[in-house]
Structures are given as structure tokens and as C-alpha cells.
Symmetry: D2
Subunit: 429 residues, 4 copies
């Protein structure tokens, strides 16, 4: 234990009891709709696989994540947690977690930079044997400042695209000194999180921010990757007329064959009513496009960073700029046209005022993978070299099985004869 | 003018200017997305068809309705308006309207019964020549208490199902003494409002209240009328597995042939994840159904009244009851199952805390019909007898044409030869 | 009995036994997929409601219709049947019917005009007490030439749009002297036959005639009535990009709000890959449209008559014309573009070489209504005046109930309290 | 040249000219709807990339394949072709090909085993420098019997799953002595062929074989790979209620989250109306399932081999068996239930009597890849080692680009700044 004396959340709040109660209410709602975590918690509570381990976590401390934290704690671990973003913590949830006998939470909303890093150091001071990150803060701090702890660390897990990207870069440089699972890249996450999670929550956030309808609207979806497919499918399912823009010809063809209109943004700009970027790239909607847009269009981003819509250029074109509604900024051009930017072009299903982030069920799947990755580290950690590891296929599959069982969905299994056939299927050719 | 001295909203607020500014901002947003009203306002501003008339209105005074009020005022009328529900008024919008030189607004949120009726009397005191109602309050008050004004009234228009129903009853009794258009019953309203408006806004309200996803959910839609079809279609478009319950065999068959599962509520109760009532009838989900439901289900109503889900019975079954989230009340049964009721079983797209009511575009169509009905009364009022009248087909069609033009959608017209053929189409048989 | 001596089909064929066997095989297939008729046949066989009656029928004598004929015969009637079109009879089915002890069939394929009418007279010679028509041939012949029989006729039923239209004209002239049910106009027929039957079978016929795919195609649907909605919905469900043309603004708006592109045929002509007319009107696709079409387009009609595509004009434009495939005629224009007309512009789900007509299940519903209409004439015939009658709502509903039961689909029924509420639903307003 | 004297098709037919004309007519239709091949043919005719080469082909010689053959010939190659299946040749198309100055066709329908292999030897006798296979017959015969030719062979391309599988086995044994492209495995083929091609053509074949409708049917899709997804999506798009069976939990979950019912075949057997297998595995529907099925169900297979439905077991259960319709065999069980097997359980979109194989557009994409693979062998053949090679990504992309251009679909391209960003996208993280 170092001499860091950063206090847990419970020592920072004035009315801890009330906060804990409110936090618990939020967590109860999430838990009620996270059947995967519920099953794992039962399993872990019985098996206590994490007994004697210390798990350090830097995550968005809100209700859904809190269920992961508790699940690990109920499996016997001592869990020490802090935030991974100064603004994403719910203090009440943090306090509710901190009330658990096996959990210490340092997360608090609105901390300054110094406090933010002090909290991370406070987590590290507990000398975790496992790290769970959302953005790689713990891995980075340990490698940079506490390399002496690495020997005691079995491994880690990383939730996000960004974190995984940075870890892979570290790994490529030979600098990553313990194994970390790239939870972000599993089929279970990509398919459900991106297609269903992003698709549904982006559209609902826009509708509830604007009081507008989708039926009959020309909805321009920029990018036809997993997120773009989800947004296109869901918008079409609300009777929008979907227009896709793409730079990769096979994706463009895929969208075309699905029945969507495909065209360059330059053309789409003239007819779109709503524009949703999902490319992960920059400068997708730029000055030349703004110039062609109709009065009253909506502009929103469902990609990771707020660089897809060039707001600087838009501001340059605008003669006036004002808040048209909560979460909607109107840029009024010289000719009177108003282009309405939602949630400042940041990830719309997180950043709009009404947004609640990803649906609970989506996080249930994602955190389920996290939880079994931690279990895997304890059971088979020695078999993983230092470096980034894909989540083993059978763990990803295990989560799918738990989810199906929880939903009461039964499915078939291969007979021996079928398994033989698949393994040597040139019978009869 | 009677001696009523109920003051307009501007005299009731402390910071009128700020309220007006905020109300204007809300109205600007609505206006920006109400192309039908925009066209009509231009037409009326040029033609001034309502010059010299006094239009009395009792409506929900919020941004969308305010655009109708202004449109009539810009057409030359003196418009006097109050609320039709003590809780639905936005004071800022009311104040913004009251700032218009041709408008007086008495609407204020949170008035008591006495004030509510005083405001209605204040409207009547202006001796309207046209009435526009949302629930028949003005028509009723005039017939009951100010019959002497009836001679001076050209006619009225009524927005809601309920109001139309009551007017028809009055008409059947021979008690309705001037002509009133049943705006509620037009194809333009029923089709778009119910299918698209209710469908989209109900689902978005539920998603944004619960943070839950639709994909893979068993969504039970009770009733397969226009609202039920809309909800079923939109839920299916979010990848829910839709289950329909019905009492009319042809509607049940229609749902079945559309590909939905159809079953009695008794069976649906056992497998549903979300239940949405749209029947317009009472006791659709009752005690025997609650007893079979799974832990964590959601219950919501998209029908007019809060009588479809028998909450009294549910309360009787519950051992505990608490607010699980804003807008969600959990009823916990003795065996621990939690049934979550959204928005107290009231119309979910209006009553949930995040709800914004019907989408702007839907009200644009509905208010467009209102506006041309008022114009019709002035142009041809003498041709309508006292009583309830369907909106003339050509007015309904006119609104469709305006909307299509505003959206830049062009369509064909019949040639003379085609018109002849359709009129006597037994050629060649 | 007149002295007509037109022989039944069994006396006209050389190998009657083989024909009967083949006809029976076709009928068995149809019967297997006509659960409504199966239930009615069981009911009628037990109750013998038609005992002592003579039913004269002029219908397309093929497998599906044959099940209706047999069902009536099994209910105790003597049924005498002939064709309603010289080319639509399947001789084998006709022979199989004629083998039934209560049925005489005069229908034969390829008869000339004289034989055609002789067969109708042969039916009439049996002095039917009920007539069942598909195109009004029996009603017309009886009224024109055998008015003395009318007194003995209880009533009739008519299957088609055209027949009903002509009957209504007769009725309007006061010339229709017995009651006839307009089976064509029931919700059960319009909704399922037009939306699902026409939609599915038109698209499958085109695909199997051309070996082409729908995915990504621009499919222009002319007309957005029931047939057009069915074609649009089913084409969209095969991942086509649907474009709708309309002349009625509210239907155009409905299509637009459903998410389809709406435009005039003049514009659609330039971008369509496949054109499908469903308007019931003439000259929907004409010279000016042909001139703008791309090489290789497909033109087909799903409306009743072959007047929607102006083939005469197309022929005038063409420099060459040849059979590109069975069922596809290519019109080659001077500039080399080839416009491909399917099934000569006649009803594509009937006239294409591979076509099988409406799906069996659709005819099951339609013939179910026919059968209970005949029963109704016997049970309550005296309560119907001479003239055209809508099918009573409860008969239409009965067929829906039988279908649902046959499919194992259960549904709810109103409680007394609910029924009371619906009847006086202003409770609490 | 060996001494084989097997004659070309033109010397085998009696009325060659008529056959050629009919074959040409079929090819013209295909060509008209194969824009990719049209563009490649123009390019090849101008560049003559195959000048001096001899291309040996063993393919299904019908209209669509013939366009590939001609395209290669028009690019300068001498093409020698025979069938890859004794029953799939269209003699008229074969004769039309044989009329081309650069093409010799030995393919004839209905040849016996000896003739079949003699024809393959006749192709090999021309000492091809490139081989194009559909099932690996040429590669196998050359390696087994003419190893002396291998030195002169630049490489090959293989169309099918089966052929690729066998080639990979050969490659793994070190026995494949020249490079062969696995055309089957490209995204362009898998996605469009399987999802859209198999999906659409399987359903249309079943509908046109049975005269039945999809609306409201319980359609059981076994397997949720690309083919299964296609069938499920298209059946749902025809308003069927889709039920998916799977053995892989993530695919099962994917189907569940898409909104389909997922259950074991054992349960699905009790409620299905139509069963479609797409697994590629054996014994998917077996005795225990047949025993639970309803009277009148349809059984069909859209997977590669006729082993998915256990017809032997079904025959064992059946008390009678007869042809219920062309292409439908009814198995009548002791209790009278009839289970209807379509196209003998063989690939339904190829083997049903009405079937036309894959849609033209799908083969256009697949053959486009074939054609550019051949071009690649000539341009860069030396850079490919002996063995199986994936089609280079840029060739697959090239075909997508050609298709989009041919369809008039324009799309975006990356700016330099965007390309830089994607290549080092950790900016700002």
C-alpha cells in the first residue's frame, strides 16, 4: 500500500445514506434487466473464483457498470474502482458500490485533473492482481509509474475500441508487459452493441430531443459498417427513406442490394432531412455539404469522436447560432436556412441531454464477457503471454448460451454424426 | 362583453419578457417543422380570410398548437385562447402568444377549477364567431350558459375523439345548435397520427424512460386497430418479436397474415417482455394476467384512457410498490416478481416524464385540417346545418397536397381519358 | 328441363379415367391447403343444408374452385357447373368433378363461342335455385333468356370485381330480379386477396419468368390501392427500392410516409428497372414513358385488364419485336434499347406461362365466403330483396373465425363489462 | 494434341442452326442483365489480354455461364469448354457457343460416364494454359492423368464450395501443383449469392411449385449462416412468421435479437408449415421430427447436398408415397398425415421443375470475379505459388465498383486527410 490518502466516495459526500439509496435504486433497475450478470453472479457467489484477488477497475461508474463491479466482488474479489472520465460518474451509484464490504469506490463526478489521477493512483495503491479498464488508464499508469507491480498482475481486460487500439500499439512496441483481453472486439459485442444498441438508442435519442418523426424522412446514414447498418435498419423500420453514403465499394453495393439509396454525400446533402454519421472518420460532412442542405435539417453523429461533422466550418458559414432546444444548436446561415446540430456532434446516444447511453441489455452482454475474461485470467492466466489477446471463442459463446438460457430460448446441438460430418464434410462429393 | 375580469397570461407572470422569449424559441422550432402551417400562414396572411372574425379556442397551449393559433391570427382573426386541461399549458408559449397583437391568451398551467372555468368564460366573453375545441369545453359552455351567443356563431371545429363523441351524442339529442367539424375523424388524421405518430412516439418514450432495447423482446400489442398496427409495425421495425391480442377475428387474422403471433392475453401474459395496450377498451390486462407475468416486464398504455391496465387489481396483488425510475412504478408481488408500470398506465407518449407528445409533423397535418375547416366555415358556413359534420373530402385532400408540395414530392394527375375511364369503367368487359 | 343436349365433360373426353385421376390429384393438393373449405365441408356433410337445391355455377373450373363445387355438393345440393372463360378450364379437374354423384360438369377447355354458351344453357336447363357466378354469365343469361326461371331462384353470389360492377349497374336500372351477394367486396377478400395474394404471386411469377432478382432493383409500382400496397410491401421485403406513382394525394402521402419514393411516372420512367401497374385504370405507362426507359427494363401489369401499359404505342416505337423468353416479349427500339413486356401486359399472376393464379389459401378464404353466402340464401333468402347485397358482416367474420381456428390461432373475446363499455364508452369523459 | 477424337456439340446435333438460334436467344437475355460481364467484355475486347492463351473450362453450360465463356473468348483466348455435370448442359447454348470462332464446346446434356470423361479429356487435349472449374474436374484430371501439362499451366480458378474444399485438401497434402483462385470464398460471392440469390430463388421456386402463399405461415429455417439469413429475411419480407433452428449459440442469439423465434427442431417440428434447411450438415430433419409434423407441411432444402432431410427415414414411416404435384412428393403416414417433399430434398432453387437456378445478376457478380481472376493470372501469375489462393481483395472490390457504375450508383471516396486519419487514427485519444 502506498501512502496515497485519496478518500473513497463515501467520505466525500455529505448525505451518503440518501445517495446510497438512490444509487441502489438505479442499480436494481439495471440488475433486473441484466440476466447474464445475474447468472454469473449466482455462479460466482457459489464458486468464489476471485477469492483472494484484488481487481482494480477504471470504468464509467454508473448503474450498469456497477453490476459488473458487484458481480466480481460477490465472486470473492476485493474490488477497487474509480472513474474513467471526470464527467461520467454517478455519485449515488459510486456511493452504493462503496457500501459493499468488498468494494472501495473512489469515483466522483466533476473531479479536476489532479483528483482524477489521484483516484487512479488510489486504486493502484491497492496493488491489484487484475485490471479492468475502459480506456486503458490503469494499464498505462501501472506501466509508466508502478512497473514494480507488474510481476504481481495476472492480466487485464479492456472494454473500448480506443483502449484496445492503444494497447495494440503498446503491444506492437513490445511495451505491454502482461496479458490483456480485447473485450471490445468480440462478435458478441460488435454485433449487438453496434447494430442494435447504437441503432436503437441513437434514433430514440434524436426523436426525444427533437419531437420529430421518422416516417417519410430522408435519413442519410454516412458509413455502412456495423453501426451504419444498425442505424439504417432501424430507421427503415421506422419508415424512413434511408440514403447511405460510403467510401468502400463493397459496402456501398451491400447497401444498394439491401434496397437503400446509395449516393455521394454531395448529392445526399441536397435531399436529406436528417444526417447521421457513423464512419469513425473525420470530415464526413463539411462546408460544401452544409451549403447545399435544406432549411431545418438535423445533423447528428453516432460515431466515436466528434470529428465527423465539421462544426468549425459550419460555424464559419453561420451568421447566427443559438440553442433551438435543449440539445439542439441551430446554425443560421446568411440566407436564413437553419442547420440543427444535435448534442454538439458528439456521440448522440450518449451526449444528448435525454440520452441514457447504451441499452441495459447491450451492456449486460458486454460486461458478461468482461466477467468471464476475469475468471479466465484466474483459471488459465499462465497460458497467456504478455500482450493483447482476443477473447477466447468459447467465452464469447458461453455468454451467448447464458443469454439464450436466461431468455428461455432453447436451441439445437450437433449429434456426433453431424459433428463428424462437419469435420470431414467431403463425404459423397 | 360580460363583466368577467379574468386577466390574460401576460398579466399573471412576473417575468413576462423572459417567458415570451422562451416560448418564442419553442414555437420557432415547431414552426420550422410544420410546413403545412407555414404554407397556410402565407396564404392566410395574403388573403386575410378571417378579417373581422373572433375565434375562441380551448386547446393544449404548447408550441405546436401555438402555431395554429398564430396562423389564424395572421389570417386576420382576433383569436382568444385558453387551455383545455389545467396541466397541459406551457406558460412561456402562452405568454408568447399573448404578445401577438391579434391574440389574447388566458391559458396558464396549474390553475384550479375555478380559474379554469373563469378562463373559458373570459374567452366566451369576447363573443367568438368561430370556436375551436379540443374536448368540447367551449361548445358545452356556450350551449349551457351563453345560448344567446349561438346566433352569432358560424361554426366550430373539434380536435379529439372524445370531443367528437360527445358532440355526436349532443347532435343525436338535437341539442347541438351550430355546425362543428369532426377533425378527429379524417383519413389524414387517423392514418398518420395513429399509425406513425402514436407508434413512433410510444416506443421512443418507453425506450428513453427505461434505457431498454427492443431487439429480441416479446412485445405484446393489445388491439390491432390503427394505433395497434402502428405500434406493431414500429416495434417489429426495431426487431422486436410482436405478439398481437385481439377480440375481432378479422383483425386477428389480419395480424396473423402480417406474420405476427396472435394469441389470447392469457397466453401472451406468460411470454411477454413488454405489454402495450391500444384498444380503447377497459380491463385489457387484469389480475389473471398479472399473475402469469415474468419478473421485470414493462406495462404501458397507448390508448386514450388509463383504464386498459387494471392498476387497482395490480395494487391489490402487490406486496410492495415503489418508483423504480422516473416514470416507472414497480409493483412487487409476494413471490418477488416486479411488474413495472410506465407513466401510471396513462397515454405513454404524453404522460411519461420524457414524453413530448405527438411528433410535430403529425400535429402539422392535424392542425392543417383545423385551419382549412375554419376557412371553410367562413367561406361556406351557411351551407352546413347545425350538427356534427365530417371534414369535406376535398379539404382533407388539400392538406395532403400541401404536405406533398412542401416535402418536394410530386405525383401524377389523371388525364381526361383516364377520368372518363374510371367514371364508366365497364369498357370492354 | 329444356331440350338442350350439350354433353357433360365425361362424354367429351377419350380417356376419362386417367383425366379423373389427374384431376383428383390436383384437387387433393388444393384441398389439403384449404382448411376453411375442409371445415365447411364437414359441417355441410353433417347438416346437408342444400338438400333438394340445384346450384348452377359458372366459374374457372380448376382445382381450387373444384373444392367449392364439391363442398356445395357434399352439403346435399345438385351442382351443375360450367366454365366462365373458354381457356381457364382444366379438363381433368372438370372430369373429376363430373364423377361426383351430385355434380354435373360441362366445362371444357378450348370451346368455341357456340359451345361456351351452349354449356351455360345446359347449366340453366337444370333450373338452378341458386346461381354462383364469376363474371355474371349465369345471371345475365337467365335474365335475358330464361326470365321464367327467376321465380324459382332464391338468389346468387358473384365472385369478381367486374361481375359485381355489372350487377350494380343492372341493379341501378331496376333490372336485377333476385338477390345476389357481392362476394368480391368483403374485407376478407379485399385485404388478403389483393394485398397478400396479388402481391406475392405477381412477384414470384415475374421472378420465375425472368430468372432475375429483386434485391437492389428500382421497382416502380403504379397505384397505391390494396394491390399496389401489397406489391410495394412484398417487393420491399425482397430488398427492392420501391417507387410509387399515384394520382390521389392522400394515397401518395401514405406511400411517402411509409418510406417509399413517390414521383410522377414521367420521372420514374427514367430510373425504374421493373414497372408494375396496379391502378385499374388505362394508359398508365404510355409513349412518353417508354421513350425515357433504360435498356432491359421489365414491364408487367397486376391490374385487372391489359390496358394499363399502352402496348400499341410501344409497338409503334419498336423497330423489332421478339420473344425474349417464354412469357417475355422484347420490344426493341430504334436506338437498341429493349423493353421487355411480361405476359403481354395481362394480369401477370395469371397470364405468365409459369403462373398458377392466386395462392390456394387466398381462394380458400374467398370460396369460404361464397359457401356461407349460399347457406345464407337458403336460411334467410326471403329477407333479401332483389338486388346486390353486401355480404353480411357476421358471415365475413365467421370465415375469419374458421380460418383462425384451422390455423390453431386463438384470440380473445370481449367480457360483458368490456362490451358495455364499448357501447357507451363516454364513461369518465 | 492427343488422339482423342471426341466431337464438338455442333457435330453431335441434327439441327444445329435452330439450336444455335435458341441458344443465342437465351444468352441474349442473360447478357442483357449482366452489366458486369458487359463492361468486362468491352474492356477485354479492346485490350485482348488473353491473346494466345488457351482456357479450358468445365462448367454448367447454360446461358449465364456462356456469357463468361464468350467474354473470355472476346478477350482473345481460345476457349475450350465442357460440362461439369451430365445433366446441366443446355445443348442449344452449347451449340451457340460452339459457333464462336474462338470457342469449342464439347458439352452435351445426358452424356454417359464414358462420354463425360471423354469430353473432359477432349478439353485437356487442347493443352490449356488456364483452367476454370466448377467442381475441380479439370484440375483433378490434369494432375492425375496429364501431369506433363502442368508446367505449361499458368493457373486456374474454381467456382464452388465443394471444389474449393477438395482443392484445399489437395493443397494441404502438397499435391496441388499450380495456383488456383478460390472464387467461391469472396465477399462478393458469399454475401450476394447466398443472402439474396439463394433467399429469393428458393422462396420463389417453392411458391411456384406449390401455388401456396407465405403470409402468416410458420416457416422454419434450419441454420442461420448466410443462406439461412437470406431465407429468413426474404420469408419475413413475405409476411411469414420465421422460426430459426441453430446449433451455434451466437448465431441463435443473432436470430433471436433480429426478432425471430428460435427453438430446437424438435419443437419447431410441431408448429412449422414450411421447413427449409440451409445448414450444410446432414440429418437436420429426421424421424423424430417427421413424427411431430402437421398434415400438409412442406419440406425443402436450400443447402448444397440432399442429406439435410432424412428421406430414407421418412420413406420408412410412410404407408404411401406419390407425386402430389410436379416437383412435390407426398409421403403419407399411417395416420393419414401427408408430408410434402419438394424437389426430392435436393437444392430447391436448382432442382425444382420450375427452377431457373441462381438469378442472372448473382451469376454476373460471380463470373465477373472469375473473369478478373483469369486476367490476374495472366498479368501476375508468376507471383502466385502453387496452391489455393484467396481472390485478391482489389479484384473483388473492382467487381463491386463495376457493378455500382453499371447500376448508375455513385459513391464517395476518401480524401487524403481522411486516409491519413484512418491509417493513424489515434489522433486525439
Amino acid at each position: 500500500m502506498t501512502d496515497t490518502e485519496y478518500p473513497p466516495i463515501s467520505e466525500q459526500l455529505t448525505d451518503v445514506d440518501e445517495a446510497r439509496e438512490e444509487g441502489r435504486r438505479k442499480m436494481d433497475w439495471a440488475a433486473q434487466h441484466m440476466p447474464i450478470m445475474e447468472r454469473l453472479r449466482e455462479e460466482f457467489a457459489a464458486d468464489r473464483p476471485f477469492e483472494g484477488e484484488r481487481i482494480g477497475m477504471a470504468m464509467h461508474v454508473e448503474a450498469k457498470t456497477a453490476i459488473l463491479v458487484e458481480t466480481l466482488a460477490d465472486g470473492g474479489a476485493e474490488v477497487v474502482v474509480t472513474g474513467c472520465n471526470p464527467l461520467s460518474t454517478h455519485d449515488d451509484v459510486s456511493a452504493a458500490l462503496d457500501a459493499h464490504e468488498n468494494i472501495i469506490s473512489y469515483a466522483r463526478r466533476g473531479v479536476d485533473d489532479e483528483e482524477y489521477y489521484a483516484a487512479i493512483e488510489a486504486v493502484i495503491a491497492h496493488e491489484p492482481t487484475i485490471t479492468v479498464d475502459d480506456g486503458m488508464d490503469l494499464v498505462a499508469a501501472i506501466h509508466d509509474d508502478y512497473p514494480e507491480l507488474i510481476d504481481g498482475i495476472i492480466g487485464g481486460a479492456e472494454e473500448t475500441t480506443t483502449g484496445v487500439h492503444r494497447l495494440r500499439a503498446m503491444d506492437a512496441d513490445g511495451a505491454l508487459e502482461y496479458p490483456v483481453f480485447a473485450v471490445n472486439d468480440t462478435p458478441m459485442k460488435r454485433l449487438f452493441d453496434n447494430v442494435h444498441g447504437t441503432g436503437e438508442s441513437s434514433l430514440a435519442s434524436i426523436a426525444m430531443t427533437t419531437n420529430l418523426s421518422w416516417a417519410g424522412k430522408n435519413v442519410v446514414v454516412a458509413g455502412y459498417g456495423y453501426c451504419g447498418k444498425g442505424v439504417a435498419q432501424k430507421a427503415s423500420g421506422q419508415n424512413a427513406n434511408v440514403i447511405v453514403t460510403e467510401v468502400e465499394p463493397r459496402r456501398a453495393l451491400e447497401a444498394h442490394m439491401e434496397g437503400y439509396d446509395v449516393m455521394p454525400m454531395d448529392e445526399a446533402a441536397e435531399i436529406g432531412d436528417v444526417f447521421l454519421t457513423t464512419t469513425g472518420n473525420r470530415d464526413v460532412i463539411v462546408e460544401e455539404h452544409f451549403e447545399k442542405m435544406n432549411d431545418g435539417v438535423l445533423l447528428a453523429n453516432a460515431g466515436h469522436f466528434d470529428i465527423e461533422i465539421d462544426l468549425e466550418a459550419l460555424d464559419g458559414l453561420a451568421s447566427d447560432r443559438y440553442e433551438a432546444r435543449d440539445g439542439v444548436e441551430a446554425y443560421e446561415l446568411a440566407d436564413g436556412r437553419r442547420l440543427n446540430v444535435i448534442a454538439e456532434g458528439r456521440l448522440v446516444n450518449l451526449a444528448a441531454p435525454v440520452s441514457l447511453g447504451h441499452p441495459v441489455e447491450v451492456m449486460d452482454q458486454s460486461f458478461g464477457v468482461q466477467a468471464v475474461c476475469v475468471r479466465e485470467l484466474l483459471e488459465n492466466g499462465e497460458s497467456y503471454d504478455a500482450g493483447v489477446h482476443d477473447v477466447p471463442d468459447e467465452l464469447d459463446r458461453e455468454i451467448a448460451e447464458i443469454k439464450l438460457e436466461a431468455e428461455g430460448v432453447d436451441f439445437d446441438s450437433l449429434t456426433d454424426a453431424q459433428r463428424d460430418y462437419m469435420e470431414s464434410w467431403d463425404h459423397g462429393t
